[in-house]
């Protein structure tokens, strides 16, 4: 057999194997990167609470709860798409990505790339500001299935693509692409009550810029730790 054909055969076998595993998979999950049955969809609604580093927040708002809506949908060939909205009125973040996943026993892995657009505005007394930007998050996930509980670790880079801010009539914009930092998310997905599943996790981002702290107009050229607690119910 030609090497090319052999590789294609092996690849097809692997994909079929994973698809078979995916078809067995029924417990809902957003983060756990096992192959999903094509077009099967899971949705979660929850809250994320970000702790803005003291260097930026000072004594102002340093805990900022946001509504977190996530959706994951399986595609053929072990691909999946997912989307996430993080809504907080003054700051909103919309993210969508494509991922390829693979399962080997209880271990699952996924590699993907997400693009996000975010915007924020402050037009209260003494403020007339807005900011928006595009961020790219190349990411890698690793998950372990313990039976009724799944643990997933997702690492991602935070790549700032463009940014634009307004103060009154004054505007500053930047299209300089740069890696601002990275983030690691650890999530448990498990049954909570009757058939309702919950996700519980933490996201640690070491970054020079976090979109949820845009209103601080941070000047620091150093990476700071932004920690986020995640809680959601899988519908």
């Amino acid at each position: 057999m030609q090497p090319m054909l052999r590789h294609m055969f092996l690849l097809t076998a692997l994909l079929l194997n994973a698809s078979f595993l995916a078809a067995q998979e029924a417990a809902p999950a957003i983060y756990y990167p096992a192959p999903r049955a094509a077009w099967s969809t899971d949705v979660s609604i929850g809250l994320r609470v970000l702790t803005v580093p003291r260097a930026i927040a000072e004594e102002e708002i340093n805990k900022a709860p946001a509504v977190d809506v996530q959706i994951a949908m399986g595609l053929p060939w072990q691909f999946a798409v997912d989307g996430r909205m993080v809504l907080q009125y003054v700051t909103n973040h919309f993210r969508a990505g494509l991922r390829w996943t693979y399962r080997f026993g209880p271990l699952s892995a996924g590699i993907g790339d997400d693009a996000a657009f975010w915007f924020g505005f402050f037009d209260f007394e003494g403020f007339d500001n807005s900011m928006s930007g595009w961020i790219n998050y190349p990411n890698l996930s690793l998950g372990w299935d313990f039976g009724d509980v799944r643990l997933t670790a997702r690492g991602e880079a935070i790549y700032l693509m463009s940014q634009r801010s307004l103060a009154g009539e004054n505007e500053v914009s930047s299209t300089k692409n740069r890696i601002a930092g990275g983030a690691l998310t650890l999530v448990l997905e498990q049954p909570f009550w009757h058939d309702t599943h919950a996700l519980l996790g933490v996201r640690l981002a070491w970054t020079k810029f976090h979109y949820q702290s845009w209103f601080a107009f941070s000047t620091f050229d150093r990476r700071l730790l932004f920690s986020e607690l995640l809680f959601g119910l899988l519908l």
Partner: protein, 412 residues
């Protein structure tokens, strides 16, 4: 089920703040310049100017501002909000400099040594003669905090500093800057206010609160916290404690005591050449009390022949109304942060709108036409500082980065 334990363990790790420490550069300028003579005022002023950076662009960019800053000489650049604070001395018709540099948006710092040789402009400067373009050359080097890894510096004089029709106020926030920028002294301390001129400021803003026994003290946050002070076990605000209790238990982030307003003003008056003080009055401190202290230190400044303006900041409508209840409120110099109506009702000397509202050129011109000045606060982003100086009409800017304001103002 170790995984769950580890997840839970993470939960208290995530609460830890990763504080950075900026090393103290290993240089003693007084020792380095021992045996040299002090520069005259004329010589210090003659060397001021905009210099082309021939060597050392990684530190100072392509153009740098050299400015006399009280008892020191500073160099300002737009690169990473960088600056050098230098002591100076003269020997054999040359001018010698020694001090430190810092990139304030990051944590880099180090030692800086330079000189202007007698034939490279030193002799003329010492006679108080300003050189022509290219006539003054500063040569030296800069290294890391331990003085190692030195790289050469060469600055060539190009033009005089920009000077507007009226003096531009470069006001340092919290007596010089905020703790998160890891300055050599704590924010709102008497130790920091002595350094503020070196950072480029000609004025300072300080935050006044009242202790439980009625003493005005300088502290920013509503409650004491680890951002501002060392761990002490005291929770609550400075207003919950007497000044004696605060002195017994509390030290600021770099070990200083919380200063009283009187101590702070005495330091500004006697140990700096700052010419503007903005007293940001927090809720607990009565405006009438600030007025008394303002009057007292205005008198002291007059006696000492010091050009010092002290203004009482009115941050909100409650403070505006409190001032208006005073019978002689028109005699007080006040700075009003609220709307234009309040500015006129209080007959404020200064209107101080937030920078977040933009340059507001029409409103600023209207207020200036009434004989008032306008200072915007607290502007830290380099792009906006440049834009507000270039496109705005402000009489001053309050910033945590006075060096950046100084750079963009003087290179115009």
């Amino acid at each position: 089920m170790k995984y769950a334990a580890l997840i839970f363990l993470l939960m208290f790790f995530v609460a830890c703040e990763d504080e950075v420490a900026v090393p103290v550069p290993e240089i003693d300028p007084d020792a380095e310049l021992a045996g040299t003579g002090a520069l005259s005022d004329a010589a210090l002023e003659a060397l001021e100017g905009v210099y082309e950076v021939v060597d050392g662009q990684s530190l100072l960019g392509r153009e740098a501002v050299v400015k006399r800053t009280g008892r020191t000489v500073s160099i300002f650049t737009d690169r990473d909000a960088g600056y050098c604070v230098l002591s100076s001395g003269e020997a054999d018709s040359s001018i010698l400099f020694a001090g430190y540099w810092r990139k304030q948006t990051g944590t880099e710092t180090g030692v800086f040594r330079a000189q202007i040789g007698a034939e490279r402009g030193g002799r003329g400067l010492l006679r108080g003669q300003r050189s022509a373009a290219g006539g003054t050359i500063i040569l030296g080097d800069f290294g890391n905090a331990t003085g190692k890894g030195t790289r050469p510096i060469q600055l060539v004089y190009r033009r005089p500093l920009y000077s507007g029709e009226s003096p531009f106020l470069i006001v340092a926030h919290r007596a010089g800057g905020r703790n998160s920028d890891q300055l050599p002294a704590s924010e709102n301390s008497a130790e920091l206010v002595r350094l503020a001129e070196g950072f480029g400021a000609n004025g300072v803003e300080i935050d006044v609160q009242l202790s439980a026994d009625g003493v005005p003290v300088i502290y920013h946050d509503a409650d004491m916290n680890l951002r501002l002070n060392e761990k002490s076990g005291l929770v609550g605000s400075v207003s919950d404690y007497t000044i004696a209790q605060l002195e017994s238990f509390v030290r600021l982030k770099n070990g200083e005591r919380i200063p009283t307003l009187k101590r702070m003003l005495a330091t500004i008056l006697r140990q700096t050449t700052l010419r503007f003080v903005w007293l940001d009055s927090k809720a607990s401190v009565p405006v009438a009390m600030l007025r008394e202290i303002q009057r007292s230190y205005e008198d002291s400044a007059r006696i000492l022949g010091r050009d010092l303006t002290i203004v009482i900041g009115l941050p909100d409508q409650a403070k505006v109304e409190e001032l208006l209840r005073m019978p002689d409120y028109r005699s007080a110099l006040v700075l009003c942060e609220t709307d234009l109506e309040s500015v006129r009702r209080t007959d404020a000397e200064i209107w101080a709108p937030r920078w977040t509202l933009g340059t507001q050129n029409e409103a600023v011109a209207e207020v200036q036409a009434e004989g008032r000045r306008v200072i915007t606060w607290t502007l830290d982003q380099a792009e906006y500082i440049q834009q507000f100086i270039r496109d705005g009409r402000f009489n001053g800017i309050l910033s945590n980065y006075p060096s950046l304001v100084a750079y963009y103002y003087y290179v115009q």
